[in-house]
Amino acid sequence: MNGLSVRDVVVRYGAAAPAVDGVSLDVAPGSVVALLGPSGCGKSSLLRAVAGLEPLAAGSVSWDGSSLAGVPVHRRGFGLMFQDGQLFPHRTVGGNVAYGLPARSGARVAELLDLVGLAGYEDRGIATLSGGERQRVALARALAPEPRLLLLDEPLSALDRALRERLAVDLRAALVATGTTAVFVTHDQDEAFAVADRVAVMSAGRLLQVDAPADLWVRPASREVASFLGYEAFVPLDTPAAAPLREALDVPPSAATLALAEGAFVVGRTGVAKGTVRGVSSRRGRSEVRVDVDGIGSVTALGPVGGRWSVGDVVELGVEPDALAVLDT
């Protein structure tokens, strides 16, 4: 097996329930895997265990088939980037990037700073940087020694949303440009989908599903995964209320469950169902309408820009098949 191989890893802190409870995961060379899960699900602990910063209570971590047990952090060749960068405050930007490089690698430092869009920042002090610039420096520093695996622990979470979305794209570009194998921890599914080739969903110390972003979205393995991805309502396929949804997907009735994401219903299209308006909000100009649909419950339907509804109105709803998923269980 090439690349990273994590087998049945358990991480414990004291006597409490294990933070990571028997996780197995493979990361092929050159690919980027996102560990996605709510805070406290054990994804950061798993990352630290791979880096060698937390002792394994059980299981193994190996690279290219040989075990890393007994290999200390600094010899694993795994880079790690923290949520808050952890730049060395007593070194300049250049000094931080050069830390993992041999002496006199000024050209390489310049090249890396250029890669993250901070060309010419070598002599700047850390205190003069903005939050986004700090994370860019941290990325350049982590990439500098050409780690065979880069571990990123919520690297964008401390930034505001616009910056986060822009940096996620830049991060993906930098990882692809350098051909870096990476494991990326995040609690934000949009970020995971933007950066990773494959997404591993974690909850309560266990791995629930590992798939490519599109497959994960279309075929969530369980109700738990689906809820975490943003599916908000669940309805058995064989109930009468699910009939218009079955038609839209062109599937026969069965005991399987249908999951509805935000926007599964659209207000104002040719109506196949009816809903009662409970509230209206606006996101980036589009209207989001909370509607109660008989037999399904409360869901978020999308409406056209500038739509006006009052609470209690009954509206016609169309169906958007891309926001529906059939769960196996």
Partner: protein, 581 residues
């Protein structure tokens, strides 16, 4: 260490056994060297000294306790010590908290000068403080009309003079970085400025205040030079009493009993201090100093409504201004009086420092040179030992046993701060003849005095360096390790690089402590090589205006020397890198 090339083995190699062995060996040395130092040069002499009092003809005899405790004098001294220390501490805190607010929460012209100035008394040798206060209060002095010379009030005033800076620096250092938004939230919830201070800011500062108060209490309860000069025969502390019992009455039993009593008082204070410090590490909203500092204005700024706390600031400012003037009084007076001669004004006393008048064995300049040499050696020793202790104690082992051991080591190395320097000094004389049975006589070694002074200075070095090391985010070390740095390189490029910024201050305090050390040195300095404080004490003890004038001049020299060195060292450190001080 050689230039590091990133290790990128295609197949991970198991760690070289020698690498891990090196790491283990380093920590073993880092723990053993300070422990051995403390054991041989602190625990052993103290034990020998105390044993002298309790072992009679090879038999343990605790009769000394009953005997000493049945003397009314003992109880009077213990009562005096506690009363002095309590009063001195309470006053230092009451005056120091407003001082911290004005000097660390506000900006004004000359602020750094005032901050440096209030530190001067803390680094002044205790003998100098005593001389300065006497020259102020003595009949015919500027405050002679108060008739305070040789009174309890004079001693307490001198103790506050000395400990004001302890409170201001410790509380101010935290206050400066305290996130003001918690207080602002309280104000927005309807609290008056005073209520917001009392219910939000004060609780956040309490650990720092408690920690500073326990340190001040420790310094007050073990004050020696100041009390010896000011108290005469009527007033004293346990420490001066140990000195009197040892040197005047040759009653080693009483001295031993009193040493144990002092140890109990000190250990109790240290436990309280330790609790306060560990509570201090709880999460506080901290911010950059710049975010919370406001300019100091006499008039209410335009746009600030009445009742918005300006009056509180004015009161604090007035108190602080008064304290600064009072701090300056003994110092200015000391300089002025040293220039007063029998027939007017002149530098006669300073010229006399080059002679051996006043019954001296060496000139004051020679003693100054001795002091500097000794202080240099002592500082190097204290830095090595204290630095290692701080490094070990700053670690947070995963296992509970390890964490307890680290906490124990921390407390152990605070002990010399409070254990009687007189006991240490006399213990040295008794134990260093053949220390631990080794065939050397350390009593004649020129290293004896520096070693004794280093014992006293080590806790100061630890307290300055440790908070800086503890403040290093452990993930910074992890980041270095993931970039390929071996443990040695992490230590050098993260811990040492960051701690180096507080090293200037540590050097300054160690040097000042050594220059001013009097309790142990008074026993150990050989007659032909006295240090400056020893010479000053000898000069005060002799009758006649000439020796007194020389004592004043020598005190000025020692004060200028100490303050100058601390100021120079403090300039070397990066702003905000001082930890608790």
């Amino acid at each position: 260490m050689a230039v590091l090339t990133p290790t990128r083995p295609d197949a991970p190699t198991p760690v070289a056994a020698s690498g891990r062995a090196c790491v283990v060996a380093f920590w073993v040395v880092a723990v053993t060297v300070p422990l051995a130092f403390l054991g041989v040069f602190f625990a052993w002499p103290v034990a020998v000294m105390i044993a002298k009092g309790f072992v009679v003809d090879g038999q343990l005899d605790l009769g000394g306790f009953a005997d000493v405790f049945s003397r009314p004098r003992t109880w009077r001294i213990i009562g005096l010590t506690l009363a002095q220390a309590t009063l001195g501490t309470v006053l230092s805190v009451l005056l120091g908290v407003p001082g911290a607010y004005v000097l660390y929460r506000h900006s004004f012209r000359g602020r750094s000068l005032v901050r440096a100035f209030v530190t001067v008394p803390f680094v002044l040798p205790t003998v100098v403080v005593g001389v300065a206060f006497r020259s102020l209060l003595v009949e015919g002095g500027p405050l002679g009309f108060l008739h305070l010379d040789g009174t309890f009030a004079a001693i307490v005033a001198a103790l506050v003079f000395f400990n004001y800076a302890v409170v201001v620096r410790a509380v101010g250092g935290l206050w400066e970085r305290l996130d003001p938004r918690a207080e602002q939230a309280a104000r927005a919830l309807g609290a008056s400025p005073w209520r917001a201070f009392r219910t939000v800011t004060l609780p956040a500062l309490t650990p720092a205040i408690a920690s500073a108060a326990s340190l001040a209490f420790l310094f007050c309860a073990t004050a020696f030079g100041t009390v010896l000069v000011l108290g005469g025969l009527r007033f004293g502390t346990i420490e001066t009493e140990i000195w009197i019992q040892t040197t005047q009455f040759l009653d080693l039993r009483a001295a031993a009993v009193l040493s144990v009593v002092q140890l109990v008082v000190v250990a109790g204070t240290l436990i309280v201090a330790g609790r306060a410090r560990s509570r201090r590490e709880r999460a506080l909203g901290l911010t950059l100093p710049a975010a919370s500092v406001r300019p100091l204005r006499r008039r209410r700024p335009a746009g600030m409504p009445p009742g918005d706390g300006h009056a509180l600031t004015l009161v604090a400012t007035a108190v602080t201004a008064g304290v600064v003037l009072l701090l300056a009084l003994p110092l200015v007076n000391l300089v002025v009086r040293s220039l007063r001669t029998a027939d007017g004004w002149g530098v006669d006393h300073y010229i006399a420092l080059g002679t051996t008048e006043g019954g001296l064995t060496v000139t004051v300049w020679q003693a100054t040179l001795n002091s500097l040499r000794v202080a240099l050696d002592a500082t190097v020793l204290a830095l090595v030992v204290g630095g290692l202790v701080a490094l070990v104690v700053s670690r947070r082992p995963r296992r509970t046993v390890g964490r307890r051991a680290v906490a124990g080591l921390d407390a152990l190395f605070m002990l010399p701060l409070g254990v009687s320097a007189v006991t240490v000094g006399f213990g040295f004389l008794l134990s260093m003849h053949h220390p631990l049975g080794l065939p050397v006589d350390l009593r004649t070694s020129p290293l004896l005095v520096p070693i004794a002074q280093a014992v006293v200075a080590v806790p100061l070095v630890v307290r300055v360096v440790l908070p800086v090391l503890r403040a290093i985010d452990p993930r910074l070390r992890e980041a270095a390790a993931t970039l390929g740095a071996a443990p040695g390189r992490v230590l050098r490029t993260v811990d040492l690089s960051i701690a180096a910024r507080s090293l200037g201050l540590a050097v300054g305090f160690a040097f000042a402590a050594s220059l001013g050390e009097f309790g142990a040195t008074s026993f150990l300095a050989r007659p032909d090589r006295p240090t400056l404080p020893v010479v000053i004490f000898r000069l005060i003890g002799r009758p006649g205006p000439e020796s007194y004038g020389m004592a004043l001049a020598a005190s000025v020299v020692l004060a200028v020397l100490t303050a100058g060195i601390v100021a120079a060292c403090e300039r070397l450190r990066a702003p905000g890198a001082g930890g608790e001080w």
